[in-house]
Symmetry: C2
Subunit: 512 residues, 2 copies
Amino acid sequence: MPAMGFAETFETLRSACREIHQLRTASDLLGWDREVMMPPGGIEARSEVLELLARLEHERLQAPAFADALAAAEGQSGALAPDDVARADLRELRRQVDRAQRVPAALAGALARTQSLAQHAWEEARAAADFGRFRPHLDALLRLVRDRAACLGHAADGEAWDALVDDFEPGATARSLAALLDPLAARQAALVGDLLDTGVAPDPAFRRLRIPVAAQAALCRALAERLGFDFARGRLDLAVHPFTSGTHPGDVRLTTRYDEADLFDGLYSTIHEVGHGLYEQGLPAGRAGLPSGAAASLGMHESQSRFYENHVGRSSGFWRAIFPTVRAVCGEALGGAGPDEAYRAANRVARSLIRVDADEATYDLHIAIRFAIERELVGGRLEVADLPQRWNAAYRELLGVEVPDDRRGCLQDVHWAAGLFGYFPTYTLGNLYAAELASAAAAELGALDPLLAAGRFADLLAWLREKVHRHGARTSAAERIEAITGRPPSIEPFLEHLAARLGPLHGRRSPR
Amino acid sequence: MPAMGFAETFETLRSACREIHQLRTASDLLGWDREVMMPPGGIEARSEVLELLARLEHERLQAPAFADALAAAEGQSGALAPDDVARADLRELRRQVDRAQRVPAALAGALARTQSLAQHAWEEARAAADFGRFRPHLDALLRLVRDRAACLGHAADGEAWDALVDDFEPGATARSLAALLDPLAARQAALVGDLLDTGVAPDPAFRRLRIPVAAQAALCRALAERLGFDFARGRLDLAVHPFTSGTHPGDVRLTTRYDEADLFDGLYSTIHEVGHGLYEQGLPAGRAGLPSGAAASLGMHESQSRFYENHVGRSSGFWRAIFPTVRAVCGEALGGAGPDEAYRAANRVARSLIRVDADEATYDLHIAIRFAIERELVGGRLEVADLPQRWNAAYRELLGVEVPDDRRGCLQDVHWAAGLFGYFPTYTLGNLYAAELASAAAAELGALDPLLAAGRFADLLAWLREKVHRHGARTSAAERIEAITGRPPSIEPFLEHLAARLGPLHGRRSPR
């Protein structure tokens, strides 16, 4: 029997990947259904089904046959061109298999169980604003998270936290992220102080117009279509906590929510999720199930949602382009308000307690606090018992606000309760990458504000498809940004964007 | 190590059953999603996911470990009480395992592939009213179906078709069914002739009132709740071909459709599916995943939908009870029509071409034709090439109608294209069992018409829960009917019901 060529060997590997991906697709869709469609009575049976599917997926990733198929393909990859996309697949699969094999099954099981209990305890603790109820669970979870980090290991000049961020932003380290996030926090804090010191503030009244939920829903669906979301390959539904489920470029599901007393809650949730959804719809369908067919990283994913939410959705041009639609759908409820009132309200800056409600200028200060604290927790430099005090001091220092209780303090986010340490910085990476992309798009397509005012959303989407979406995870997110801009990601485009947009709205002269 | 007791041995078996059931649950929910929620772009990826889940389920059912667990439990079952429900589980699992093992994997695979192609060809052939396009596919499929029947075997005094009906109505045979269906067809044909000869016919105008779809949807949801469907454990959505998905008593999903020009299309589809859904919600949740936690048979399932559709939904009492709701929701669109007009329109009898549109008096004549023909096809006594001619002759003889084309003839149903031979008679069993249950309920609760007019839907549901639902598949459907009525299922209650309801509407005096 002649030896198999690379194509054949790779096809064997790909079949195994496909099966793992199909199990994950089933899980993701049933997870979406749980949040969006399932009647309450289904929860117990659903949890069991999801547990089985997760186990089957995990077994396949850890099966010797999968490692063998990967090794066989690696052994024959020498003849591949340096930029062959299969190299990216092999590299990323190797990373995943090595990481999966380094964590003993008993530890993975303990983590899953402890996380499930911790998340439940967090829900109760948050509702009661009682950190004490959550504390022993976070303690137990953190011990296991540290064990897992120890199994995964990190570079000699790095730290334990590095092993965890690799789940979300492959290639990033605490050091590489701190080099961006630390100076960003200092300069954003200064910028926010400067803006608020002017005593001039955009009027937020527009977001409080009372628009019936049905009208908001019609508006948001129209906006999603206008921005390029393809409803033949996706849906838009309601969920308490909006999210996007993308199992395949042909089936991408956005969720959002509406509040009659807050037009922007639903509108910007929708535009944010549309950004995620456009990325998912633009991924290379031909490589679905392979790493190269997936998003480059969480940071890159967030860059797409933030690009649409902030660079598109909070721009003056956007509001001018869509206002005829807003007027047609909302009618009388608008009173005399026009696109300028909407634009101003969308760019209100305020020091606040809650991350998910934060504006574009202060959002990353919330992230900086979490980034610092979770490194201390994972590194054992901060005791769980001291978390609330540490949190409140950080908010006082960086945001200048007093935390009145833990519900509005260190209990506000689900991430740590869900075992997600290393996740938060990807939000700021998203903001940085979005600004890099907006700057590059403007250099190639012309200034974005007039382009948006002219309703050229399709041109913008085509540019993102070409520069970002179609590449999937062929390179890391940082490498892709560098390939587009010619230099490594930096904080400057984002700071320039904030100054250029927010300065004039606060009575500052435009920087140029 | 001491030998395991029955409880432990059974728990091992039950775990295996649970896993199979969970895989089926995932398939069923993703199948529901495909029909109800999925955007068109998702179809290809979805088919692959469903194929994988079906394969995993099949592998587990055929695994030696499963057969071993079953044999071990059987070996220890001697000490069980004669009526212990575990005996029913072992009996039914043995039947399933034996049947699965008798069919070679290659044949099962060929059947799945051929069925998929045949169904696709059928869709095209039906649209084009061109039997020739479907014929070679049905030929190929039928050869495999006969092979499968040969593998499964049948009693010495039976026929090949018996092996197939066992998929849908365990314990039934062509002979046992013919003993009911043949005399039923003769007497129904006579009854229909008698009714139509009177020249008196209920006025069908009510169903043609133009009620906006939103009002129909509100009405149907209110009716579902009124009849006892629990929306905390279920949903009601839209689908082109209405169906019910019941994966667990806590998550039961009805689907229906609405036609502005035909109030009854949506209304009776909904009530029919509510009947299925109430059964699913009433099954013993504590035995979910075991055979005894499932419906007794397709015939019993259909008896629940037919009970609600016909004995409840087409009764005079029902229309009187719900008419205030109908009036509140539909308002002016009703003109001057009242419950009597609705009742009359709901009981219009007509000889027709299409099974799914048939009324209560003629429906089983459509089934009788299919029952006869599919036995001839499976038994090799009818060539596929001669099917249209045979079909058209049967419609001429039994229903007195001329079939104008194969679309409205032998291409109208998907069943044979989907490989479902042996399924059709369960529809008539459903009608017979429903009449048995209605008769028994009236004997215990009092005449149904005044009970329904008084809106005592909860009493009726409680009776069905007690007599049928909670028993799951602990006994066969026929045994359960006999346990309720004290005698084996017969055609008399159904014929009496038809005469009692339809006679007076056609100017005949009530039989008593």
